[in-house]
């Protein structure tokens, strides 16, 4: 009877406390990993930028000159009194709360190493508030314009630097010949054919281009005299970019605006390229960077001015630059003690060293950029090819259908093989059997391409699958062949999705270390690789090598700076991928 009674008592009894506890427990579990990662990232940032030794005066100076104007800009863009009030309350309340709680913990519980309440306030309150405001502000027209301009400046600089880096390895003279004999005539033929509606010219473009490329490789050994690097870069990169910019503006607006949009950045780039040598910068790279930032910026500014809405936002880069300069002046004038960051310009432009203060990441960055460029091309081509084959060419039923399923299962399993095993594949197949050499950039790129291929394929398949079938049937009904449907309908629709997936996969490749160790990549090289078959190091390899150093300056300084560099590049890549995805979603 006792058990019966117990059952009767339990029936219908609802524990509110248990439900609430469970909800908060699961919420806590969801954020536990993130909080842990957040704390670790805060510490690594503090170490990399030496913020622990930053004086409160220094923090306050830049808070006033840089952060406050940026917040004000976002608030102006958001133009929402509720948001303004909320942010102000959080910033002010957070200041008091963090100061009180932090001091209490320090006084009664335990001293927290390398953190002051000012830093804690910056990371716990100001950083999230800034991120939130940037998000809200970017929905306003002014903010969208400001961030769009900022993105073009940063993105153009990054791409320009990457292109300059690639020419460390690739022969720019071959590129000069290939461009002059192959790319330029083919592009001209194609453009002419499109404009005059002459199908023959369009069809001829590809063979002409191929002949030009072959001729370029052949002539490289024959031709003796070449123009200087600067002229080559100007002729093959800056001029075409400016021309494209001018054409884009021309299609939208007046002839004069077009000439200005192409001409002004070009003139700036030429001037920058020739003057860069005087201040110790490499001229050709400066030329490309200015061309690649200037032309998109000019197009964007023209469009914004043309639309005439939110033009104030164009001032955002100026606002930030002014903030940095004023901050630096104040720090200089009043002698505010400033921190000495590990991650500075010399860190990313100099070679590694036994001496912690002189150590740099430059050769490893170059190695990573080169590998990733090759991996991007290889995995994109192979990934798109495979996913098109599986989605467009193979049936889902019948004998071939089971072959499709086999391929599909195989790809899923490849995705789950540990990366260190791919390293063994690279070692046994590419380095030893095919003789590409231990630790060369070619071996590394091939290995990493195979490693991320399954991820690329799976995301590309999803993108292709999300193209509505009506579009395909429509194309079929027009008499298009399978390839024409794929080329004209499926791929353009799926391209943003494919690119997003590929960039995310590349983010995985750039951080992979284990396969590189297995193929014998160098942990430390002291000069940037000069060819695809020279030994190279990559950012994660260098971080791995330095993490093994026992000295505290390396453990807490140099490696932290390397980690932050790697993470900044990763965030940049993933941010691009997310932007692409959002744009595609908005478009469709």
């Amino acid at each position: 009877m006792a058990t019966d009674n117990a059952n009767a008592d339990g029936f219908g009894e609802v524990s509110r406390v248990r439900g609430i506890l469970f909800e908060y427990l699961s919420l806590g579990a969801s954020v536990a990993g993130l909080v842990a990662l957040g704390v670790l990232l805060v510490y690594v940032a503090i170490d990399a930028f030496d913020l622990a030794s930053a004086s409160p005066g220094w923090l306050l100076t830049y808070f006033l000159t840089l952060v406050i104007p940026f917040l004000a800009f976002c608030l102006y863009s958001a133009d929402d009194s509720a948001v303004t009030r909320r942010v102000l309350v959080v910033l002010a309340g957070g200041l008091v709360a963090v100061a009180v709680i932090f001091t209490a913990i320090e006084a009664f519980v335990v001293t927290i190493p390398r953190l002051s309440w000012q830093l804690t306030y910056l990371f716990v309150v100001v950083a999230p508030a800034t991120a939130y405001l940037a998000y809200v502000g970017s929905h306003g027209r002014v903010g969208a314009v400001g961030f769009g301009l900022l993105g073009r400046l940063v993105g153009g600089t990054a791409i320009g630097l990457a292109v300059g880096t690639l020419f460390l390895v690739f022969d720019e003279l071959v590129w000069f010949l290939a461009y002059t004999l192959g790319v330029l005539p083919a592009a001209a033929l194609y453009a002419y054919g499109r404009r005059r509606d002459a199908g023959r010219a369009v069809t001829a473009a590809i063979p002409v281009g191929l002949v030009g490329l072959v001729a370029a490789v052949f002539l490289r050994g024959v031709v003796r005299t070449y123009p200087s690097d600067l002229i080559i870069y100007l002729w093959t990169l800056a001029v075409p970019i400016a021309a494209v910019g001018a054409l884009v503006v021309d299609a939208r607006g007046s002839r004069t605006a077009a000439v200005a949009a192409g001409g002004v950045p070009l003139a700036l780039a030429i001037a920058g390229g020739f003057l860069a040598g005087n201040v110790g910068l490499p001229g050709p790279t400066t030329l490309i960077v200015i061309a690649l930032t200037g032309v998109p910026t000019a197009i964007y500014v023209h469009r914004v001015v043309d639309v005439g809405d939110g033009t104030v936002g164009l001032g955002l880069p100026l606002l930030l630059a002014a903030g940095v300069i004023v901050g630096a002046l104040v720090v200089e004038a009043w002698g505010v003690p400033a921190p000495d960051p590990w991650l500075d310009v010399s860190y990313v432009t100099e070679a590694p060293s036994r001496n912690a203060t002189e150590a740099g990441l430059y050769p490893a960055i170059v190695g990573s950029v080169i590998i990733i460029a090759l991996v991007a091309v290889l995995s994109f081509v192979l990934g798109v090819g495979t996913s098109v084959f599986l989605e467009e060419y193979m049936p889902e039923t019948g004998v071939l259908g089971s072959l499709t399923r086999l391929l599909q299962i195989n790809i899923a399993n490849l995705a789950a093989i540990p990366s260190v095993v791919y390293g063994l594949l690279g070692l046994g197949l590419f380095a030893n059997l095919l003789g590409f050499g231990y630790g060369t950039a070619v071996t590394a790129s091939l290995t990493l391409s195979l490693l991320i291929l399954p991820i690329t394929i799976i995301s590309a398949q999803e993108a292709i699958r999300s193209v509505p079938d009506d579009l395909r049937r429509g194309s079929d009904a027009m008499g298009a062949t399978r390839w024409q449907t794929t080329k004209n309908v499926v791929l353009p629709e799926a391209l943003p999705g494919i690119l997003t997936g590929t960039i995310l996969a590349l983010g995985r490749a750039i951080g992979e270390t284990a396969p590189l160790i297995m193929i014998g990549a160098a942990t430390t090289v002291f000069s940037a690789p000069s060819s695809l078959f020279s030994r190279f190091s990559a950012m994660p390899m260098q971080i791995y090598a330095w993490a093994g150093f026992p000295q505290a300056e390396f453990r807490y300084g140099v490696v932290a700076a390397g980690v932050i560099t790697l993470l900044i590049i990763l965030i940049g890549m993933n941010g691009t991928a997310i932007l692409l995805r959002n744009r595609a979603e908005r478009g469709s």
Binding site: S30, L37, T386, S419, A547, N574
Partner: protein, 324 residues
């Protein structure tokens, strides 16, 4: 005749067009073939060198010897996988203690409790956990986690230890568990939940009593995938766990059952299968030596284990999936 030239000529250059179609189709097929070839190549590479290795070192010795010292300079060479297996199991189990409960609770929160807004923020954030390079996690474990644990909980901890490495492996695998489990939980039809509420169940009871059992196959398969990921994890353990292949001291209980002291294993350095491979690769890669071949034997073991686990996880997800 003029009529026929003015109407569109559908047969024009059909041979060229067919060639073009065939070329592109063939190119795509070749791309797809590369994925199959990759699997074959991995298997062939591993097997060819592993066979050479097992000709030198009998497979029984490889599987049962308790000593791993591949370096010929250090005296007797010995290739026993047992200490490496212990290291791998220790890391995997500890990581699983962190990742599986946390991941499952996260999945429950995301699919049952979170507002759509919170979900849209939390899900991409959780993916970040899986996107951080593993060498960075290893660095975190070595430079931040170990000193903190040493200063607070375990003063006798050594600089390189299994515990901090396992914690980081656990955090890294949380999103694997949570995203696959959440997919399975979201696939549970709302009718089941409504039926539960109709019977007077609370949200807690619906979540734990209806949703979790209904999606148990997906949850189980996510567990297996996460564990297989932890087994193959390399850089975290290489950086944070050190490279000492050792057998933990075996104690005996009252009833004569041997046991390991977990603190002894967790707080000291150790070696996993992956670390052993990296250690050999970091030294000499000339090929043809026994240590070189032993890497491939270890790789084969790793490959087989992860492959079996993946197939197993697929089977569980397929076979025991509740169809609604």
């Amino acid at each position: 005749m003029t009529d026929s030239t003015e109407s569109p000529d559908l047969q024009r250059r059909s041979g060229l067009r067919r060639l073009k179609e065939g070329t592109y189709g063939g190119f795509f097929a070749a791309c797809a073939a590369i994925t199959l070839l990759t699997t074959v190549a991995i298997f062939a590479t591993l097997l060819s060198d592993a066979v050479v290795f097992f000709a030198e070192v009998p497979i029984i010795e490889f599987l049962t010897s308790t000593n791993w010292s591949p370096n010929p300079a250090g005296g007797g060479q010995s290739f026993g996988i047992v200490p490496l297996l212990i290291g791998t199991i220790v890391v995997t189990v500890t990581a699983a203690f962190i990742a599986l409960p946390t991941g499952t609770l996260t999945a429950i929160y995301l699919s049952e409790y979170a507002s759509p807004n919170a979900r849209s923020i939390l899900k991409p954030l959780l993916e970040i956990l899986a996107g951080i390079p593993t060498v960075v996690y290893g660095y975190f474990a070595l430079v931040y986690i170990t000193p903190v644990l040493k200063a607070t909980l375990f003063p006798e901890m050594s600089t390189f230890n299994a515990l901090s490495a396992s914690i980081m492996v656990g955090i890294m695998t949380i999103p694997m568990v949570s995203s696959i489990s959440e997919d399975a939980m979201s696939a549970v039809p709302d009718e089941l939940r409504q039926a539960g509420y109709g019977l007077g169940a609370t949200k807690f009871e619906v979540s734990t009593g209806i949703v979790v059992p209904a999606s148990i196959s997906g949850i189980a398969s996510s567990y297996i995938l996460a564990v297989s990921r932890a087994i193959g994890e390399t850089m975290i353990v290489v950086v944070a766990m050190g490279a000492q292949a050792r057998m933990p001291a075996v104690g005996e209980t009252l009833f004569g059952i041997p046991y390991f002291n977990p603190a002894d294993v967790l707080l000291d350095s150790g070696m996993t299968i992956t670390v052993a491979m990296v250690q050999i690769a970091g030294g000499d890669l000339t090929g043809g030596t026994i240590p070189y071949d032993s890497m491939f034997a270890l790789g084969l073991a790793l490959f087989v284990v992860t492959l079996v686990m993946n197939v197993f996880s697929d089977i569980i997800a397929e076979r025991y999936r509740e169809e609604y």
